[in-house]
Amino acid sequence: MRQGWSVAALLCWLSSGLSATWGAEIVVTTSILADGVHNIVGQRLQVVSLMGAGVDPHLYKPTVRDVRRLEQARVIIANGLKLEGKMEQALRRMARRTPVIFAAELLPPQKLREVAPGEYDPHVWLDPQLWAEVLRRLADTLGQLFPLWRQEFQARAQHYALQLQELDGWIQQQLERIPPPQRVLVTVHEAFGYFGRRYGVQTLALQGVSSASEFGLARVLQLAELIHTRALATLFAESSTPVRALEGVATAVRWRGGRVRIAGPLYTDALGKPGSPEGSYLGMMRMNVERIVHGLLPQP
């Protein structure tokens, strides 16, 4: 994957950094990224995320102050792989003035899921192992930008990676409780690709990777058919997309005689409200897995 950051950017960063009158050191797009970066830089650098909780990164409308923050940030970190829609285009063009790092694009392509020729699934953070690697690479890159704290960033990344490893083990163990045929995750838009790949959970979704594309009736019927034949019991709503779409599928399955309920909502593209348990990445993932397990375990 091409390097998201270039030497030229470093030079102009040096010049613009000094003139920074106000604004965060690091500006990050999604709240999930912000949580990760915060775990790398700790208190050294101020981390600000543009998108709040429950916001669908794809349909995000920037405000004037967001632009000011981007303008004056020392480093901008975005997820990339077209998660941020229109904003990504603008950020790519900004790369000449301010260093912009596309976190997901730090990973080698073979580790990514290709959903269409040249298009990759951006939801890398839902696989803790992969997310740990992203953060590790991010720490190296940030280390180059801030040589003073290189070791510290890498140490913190390493420490956080252990927590992620522990989370990974916990998830593995939790998912064991679900009988294999039931290990199917049905959501509105296809966010759990990496999660499914990591833990052997099959994922089905109404929409493709982008939550903005409009699904047709055919997809609803096809999904309902699949759910009915596989006798699946639970559909999962998401925090950043409407639940109405799933109700259609549920109605279809119920009419075919199947029993199905809508659980969740799961957090996919954004963390929960700050301060709440699902306000941090680790909390969010635990909440998600608990809800998945609870949802997929056969009801008494």
Binding site: K61, R65, V67, E71, G85, Q89, R93
Partner: protein, 299 residues
């Protein structure tokens, strides 16, 4: 610096829209902008699917082609099939837009593309995209809107006489050899160009607001055409400035606030004129005639 860039780009675009909007207001075809801003979607999507890239040029070509087709269809519906202008506009607008969404869902479903993202620009991003032309570094948006303003300005400067004549008295214009059809098509084409460029830059809602608001407000405030053009330009700049201030104060979407101000100020003017006229006991010398004039055209 981002403030200056954004304001400059928005202001130049607003001026171009205000200038053009004034003539559209006189010809009562202000809604053309709204119709075209929807009608270009299929053209843009086809351009994207065909060229596989979101670069400006293919998008503009696609949008331009769609706008031209929409304009011809409008003419056909109105002249050949006697459909009322409003209905023709609505029909073309909706069908073209639906075609656009159809193409998007059918062929670009997987690729991360949607009406909101592929078509409508975002004014806030303007300062972030710097491009250097002849050594001067300025946002791409500023260059395009400056070129647009130059184009519209030149057109109005050169064809001012003809535009006024054709809009005021088409029959007389025809009798001295200036064909009204040719000039109205030229005006429609220019509107299509402004809409297409502005769409890519600031999004659909702002295009309509900038085309309609200042022109409608100026129409109320002034009595002579040259004054109207000037006042509509000032109102446009005012809308951009006030919009930016409000967007900054409430940390809201810039395009949204400018649209609110551009649309809202007309309501305020109407209210003020109502208040000023109602208690005014001493009628102006010609008010008698003016009143019957108003009676003749109940809007």
């Amino acid at each position: 610096m981002d403030v200056v860039w954004t304001l400059a780009a928005a202001a130049t675009l607003a001026l171009a829209c205000a200038l053009l909007g004034s003539f559209l207001a006189l010809r009562r075809t202000l809604l053309l902008g709204d119709a075209l801003s929807h009608a270009v979607l299929p053209g843009v999507v086809l351009a994207f699917l065909w060229s596989g890239s979101r670069e400006l040029l293919p998008m503009l070509l696609g949008a331009g082609a769609a706008a031209l087709l929409a304009t011809l269809l409008l003419e056909l519906l109105q002249w050949r099939f006697r459909v009322h202008p409003d209905a023709a506009l609505g029909a073309v607008l909706a069908t073209f837009f639906a075609a656009g969404i159809f193409l998007l869902s059918r062929f670009a479903g997987q690729v991360d593309l949607d009406a909101e993202c592929v078509l409508y620009g975002e004014l806030a991003y303007v300062p972030l995209e710097l491009v250097s032309v002849m050594g001067v570094e300025a946002p791409r948006g500023l260059w395009t809107s400056a070129a647009l303003l130059a184009g519209v300005g030149l057109f109005v400067w050169l064809a001012y006489k003809e535009l006024v004549l054709v809009s005021f008295d088409p029959t007389f214009a025809a009798s001295i050899g200036r064909s009204p059809r040719k000039w109205s098509l030229a005006l429609m084409g220019l509107t299509a160009a402004v809409t297409v460029v502005a769409l890519e830059l600031v999004g659909a809602v702002l295009v309509v607001a900038l085309l309609v608001g200042p022109a409608a407000g100026a129409r109320l405030l002034t009595r002579r055409l040259p004054q109207m053009l000037l006042v509509s330009a000032l109102l446009a700049l005012g809308a951009v400035g006030a919009g930016y201030g409000l967007a900054w104060a409430f940390d809201g979407a810039l395009a949204g606030w400018i649209a609110v101000v551009a649309g809202g100020h007309v309501g305020a003017i109407v209210l003020l004129r109502r208040l000023r006229k109602a208690p005014a006991s001493a009628q102006e010398p010609f008010a008698a005639e003016q009143d019957n004039d108003q009676a003749q055209q109940p809007g």
